[in-house]
Structure formats: structure tokens, C-alpha cells
Symmetry: C2
């Protein structure tokens, strides 16, 4: 039995799991606050402490899912939009290896998620899987025959940064009209905020206690469940945008399965129904009924499991 430690580094918490890489099963978990405000070096030390507490001797390697852009070859972080401090050029893999005594590899967190889901989760048994994580941003990844397809610089899978409206709203990446700018969690919440600001007849405001700061994707879902027409239109619109993005992935990649995870996917059919309807309307007839569009299955553990698996694959490949 090979046990690897997988870390899912988030803006608010560090989730660690000891993973049996032959089965994807979790032998132990530990979650601590990230305390990102203390800066990158402190966060790296905190990850190392968590790993040391968890490993009890048996772990073979360490994989760390990073919420941002990394250099796969050097193990350095480059750009982490949701964590404070300057992470660019930080030798995170090297520092963690030194502090834990474990060989360490980094991977983008959405790629960690899809590697786990493709192998042990909603993609199990499918030869080609595309994943999309709907949260503060929209990430993703591509897995073919049980391996991540990473492209020539490790960045393949940025499915949230496809332009689907050339003149659409600005995106954090510098482009306009990216799927992420139209259908991320904040984009969804912002449609609720705008509806309230425009004085539309909606329960969203009451559910958020008249405080625009409290409007979240879940506020909009609750309004929709209470029959609110404005909230339902917002969810239909965001679901349709996601359907355009998923439809593009189906036409370009023809995957056997598309897996949708992340916080916004928790809204369930409020998002999945308009998403699937849009795919049916836009994809070639030979494909649109065959590709399965499914919710993620591993819940909050996917990131850590995938990071542990990544370390296992890298260890095998590098010998």
C-alpha cells in the first residue's frame, strides 16, 4: 500500500489527506486555517507542519494543489490571485521537500480536482474526461486515459478563459467575455446585486437582509426555490453561459464525460438544467445526447486526493 499526502491549498483553509493511491481512499484528514495574511513563507511552513503531523512515517511523497499558476518543472509558484503576498518565483516544492523530508510536486488545484474525479470520482471508467470547477474563478482540466493532459507548459485546461462573448465584461485574466467573467460565483452573485440595485421585484434583497454584501450564489438559489422569477432568470442565464462553454469543450474535445464541480455546482439543477439545455441546443446531433455531463462525486476531498495521485504519478515517471 502506497500512502501519499495530498494538500489542497485554499484561500481560507489547508486541507490535507493521507491517500492510498491504489484505491483513492483516504486514511486520514487534517484541516487547518491558511492564515494567508501571514505571507507565503508562513503558509509554506504551516503546510509542512500539517504534513509532519499527518504522515506518521508511512507517506511516500507529497503533492500540493495550488490555487493559481505554477511552474511544473521547477516547483515554483507564479501567480496566486486569491492569496496575499508575492508568491512569484517562490520555491514551494523545494521548501516543502526540505521541511518534510518528502519528495514534493505541485499541481494547479483544478487539475488536482480533475485527476481525482477522473480516476476515482464521477469520471471513473471514462477514457476522456474534461472537468470544470465553478467557484471564485472557473478552472478545469483534461484527463485522457487516466493521465492529465497538461499541454506544453502545464497550463492546459483553462476552460474558464474561453471567450464566449467577444464584447463581454472584463475578466481578471485581461481578456473580455471569458466564461469566467460571465458565469463564476462572483459573476452570478453580481447579477443578483444588479437586479436589486435596479429595483427589480425580487426576494433576493430580503433574503440578504437588505445588504448587497450578503448576496451570494446561494441567496439567488434560495430566492429561486421560493418562486422568485428574477432569481430564476439569473440562474438560467448563468447556466446557459456555462452550457455554451461546455458545448465548446464537447465540440473541441469530444470527451466521454464532462464533470462539473465547485461551489456553484452545488446549486444543482438550477444550474445543470439550463446548462444541459444549452448544450443540446448548440452541439452536433451525433454528440449532444452521448456525452454525459455530471456533477463531481468526491466532494471537498477531490483536490487533496488528486494532489496525492499527482505525486505518485510523478514519482513513478521520474523513478
Amino acid at each position: 500500500m502506497t500512502i501519499n499526502i495530498g494538500i489542497d491549498l485554499g484561500g481560507t483553509k489547508i486541507a490535507a489527506a493521507a491517500v492510498d493511491v491504489a484505491t483513492g481512499e483516504i486514511a486520514g484528514r487534517l484541516v487547518v486555517p491558511t492564515e494567508a495574511h501571514e505571507g507565503p513563507e508562513a503558509v509554506v511552513r504551516r503546510i509542512a507542519r500539517v504534513v509532519t503531523q499527518m504522515r506518521r512515517g508511512e507517506a511516500a511523497a507529497l503533492g500540493v494543489g495550488i490555487p493559481g499558476v505554477i511552474d511544473l518543472a521547477t516547483g515554483q509558484t507564479q501567480f496566486l490571485p486569491n492569496l496575499p503576498g508575492d508568491w512569484n518565483g517562490l520555491q514551494v516544492a523545494g521548501q516543502l521537500a526540505e521541511q518534510t523530508g518528502l519528495r514534493t510536486w505541485l499541481l494547479n488545484d483544478a487539475r488536482s480536482f480533475i485527476l481525482a474525479e477522473a480516476t476515482w470520482g464521477a469520471g471513473r471508467g471514462a477514457r476522456s474526461v474534461v472537468g470544470m470547477t465553478l467557484g471564485t474563478g472557473i478552472g478545469g482540466g483534461i484527463a485522457i486515459d487516466g493521465r492529465l493532459y497538461l499541454g506544453f507548459d502545464g497550463a492546459a485546461g483553462e476552460v474558464g478563459h474561453q471567450t464566449i462573448d467577444p464584447d463581454g465584461p472584463p475578466c481578471g485574466c485581461g481578456n473580455r467575455g471569458c466564461l469566467e467573467a460571465l458565469a463564476s460565483g462572483p459573476a452570478l452573485a453580481a447579477l443578483g446585486v444588479k437586479a436589486v440595485m435596479q429595483g427589480m421585484t425580487t426576494q433576493i434583497s430580503a433574503l440578504a437582509e437588505q445588504d448587497l454584501n450578503r448576496i451570494t450564489p446561494d441567496t439567488i438559489r434560495r430566492a429561486a426555490e421560493a418562486g422568485d422569477a428574477v432569481a430564476r432568470q439569473i440562474l438560467d442565464r448563468v447556466g446557459a453561459y456555462l452550457g455554451i462553454g461546455v458545448g465548446n469543450l464537447i465540440n473541441i474535445l469530444s470527451p466521454e464525460r464532462v464533470i462539473i464541480g465547485g461551489g456553484v455546482a452545488q446549486l444543482g439543477d438550477w444550474i445543470f438544467a439550463p446548462l444541459r439545455a444549452e448544450v443540446r441546443a448548440r452541439c452536433h446531433s451525433t454528440l449532444r445526447d452521448q456525452v454525459k455531463i455530471v456533477p463531481a462525486a468526491l466532494g471537498g476531498d477531490a483536490g487533496a486526493i488528486g494532489a496525492a495521485m499527482w505525486a505518485y504519478q510523478r514519482m513513478k515517471d521520474e523513478g
Copy 2:
């Protein structure tokens, strides 16, 4: 030396090549008219006759690039939008094998093109290549480590059917706002027709001898070369649409190289310059300067070479 016969079936001509699959070199060529109006069975017999004339005994297998949708597993054609007659369910591979005595495999023609270009053409040496063919339609394909990535039903690579304008013009596939509907050869020519019909000040009409039927992508290029502002705007617009599509492919797939072929690519920098400018404006900074966007290198032979290579790969895989 293994020689395979590769066929590139087009709406007006059948191009055949005897290809050394170890080098991609062509040992012989034959081109005959398709005479598509005679119907599918006659076209298949014509292909078989060409193969018989060419092979002189030494050919090991036959690959046929088909301009449309095929069933890779059964060797049947399904939907050939640009050839008359009912091709759906026709056992083309089986009939050709019977008539030529050669084991025969079909492949979509854009996938044939990209397989050849990735191996022996503009993609040589790159590990991941995405190709796009700009003609009557916009086709494409994905090659990873020298093999086509075909997805679960063989349809991966339909890069022309990504929605880049949700409310855009109708596309032949049934969707709206596909790249193909905005930037194919006919879409480009139609912008020229529209400009003339609107009475804009342009040389396009004179170059087409006042006949709307004669306005082609090349008419618009010639006008642009003569300094025509309307023609230049049209080419910029179509190039920008193509740049959006290519940018999406770069963000999703992070290929080492993107290869652009087909008739519209012959317009050269009139298309490539605005295309590359749009990619620079829309793609992540870490990638946009690294991915090479290059014109196809094998000219009109790519389709036949790729089809021959496909037959070689399938023969090896199936034993």
C-alpha cells in the same frame, strides 16, 4: 519501406498519393475529378480505380480522408455536407477494401490534414499540435505525441464549431455564432457581398466584374492589396474572429503549436496579422508569446499524406 495509398476526397477532385509512411514522402500522385453528381457508389468506384492504377503492387494499406462525419469503428460515412447523394450508412471502407484488395480505413479530412502536418509539416518536432483548416467550413484536429486525439466517438477537433458569439449568425451545424459561421471562406466572401450590396465605397465590386457571384475571399484580398479600406476591415474582422477561436484553443489546450491551413490561410498576413493580434489581446501573458501560430507547410498534399499515415497507424494497432 512501407508504402500506403492515401486519398483526399474533395467535392471536385480525388487526390491520391503513394506515401512512404516512414518519411512522409510522396512516391507518386494521381488526381481525378470526383464527379460527385454521379452519386456515392460511383465515387467509391472511382476511388478504387485510382488506387488500383497507383499501387503497382507495393501498397500495404489504404487511408481515405473524408470531407464529413464518419463512423471510425465501422468505416461507414454518415454526413458529407458538400457531396450530393445519401452517404449515410454507406460501407465505404468495406467497399474499397473489396474493390482494391487493400485494408482500408477512413478518417475525417481535417484530421488527416493535421496528422500529416503534425508529423511531417508545420508541427514537426512539437509534442502537442492543434490544427485548423479554413475553407468552405472550418475543420480541425488535435495531435498529441504524434497521435491524433479523437475523443470518445472520433469527433474531437471540431474547432470550427465553438460558439464565440452566442447571438451570432446561424451555422450549418444548427447552432448560432460558431466560428465557422463567422470566419469560413463563405462567411468572409459574404461580408464582401454585403459591403457591395450596401453601396459602400470599395473596389470589391469592380474586381468581381460587378457580379456578386464572383466575390471570393481572394477578391477581397486583391482589393485589400490595392489599398481598399472596406476590404481591409473585412479581413481584420475575420482574422480577429479566428484569433478568438485560436485563443480559446490555446487557453483550453495549451498546444505547443497551432497550424492554420486551407484556402483562407492562403491569404497570408491579411488573415494571420489580425489573428495573432487578437490572440495577444486575449490570451494569458504566460502563454501568448510562446505558442507558435504557423501556416500549414505541406500544401495540398497534407490530406492524402495524413490518410496514408492513418492507415499505417491503424494497421499497426489492429495487428
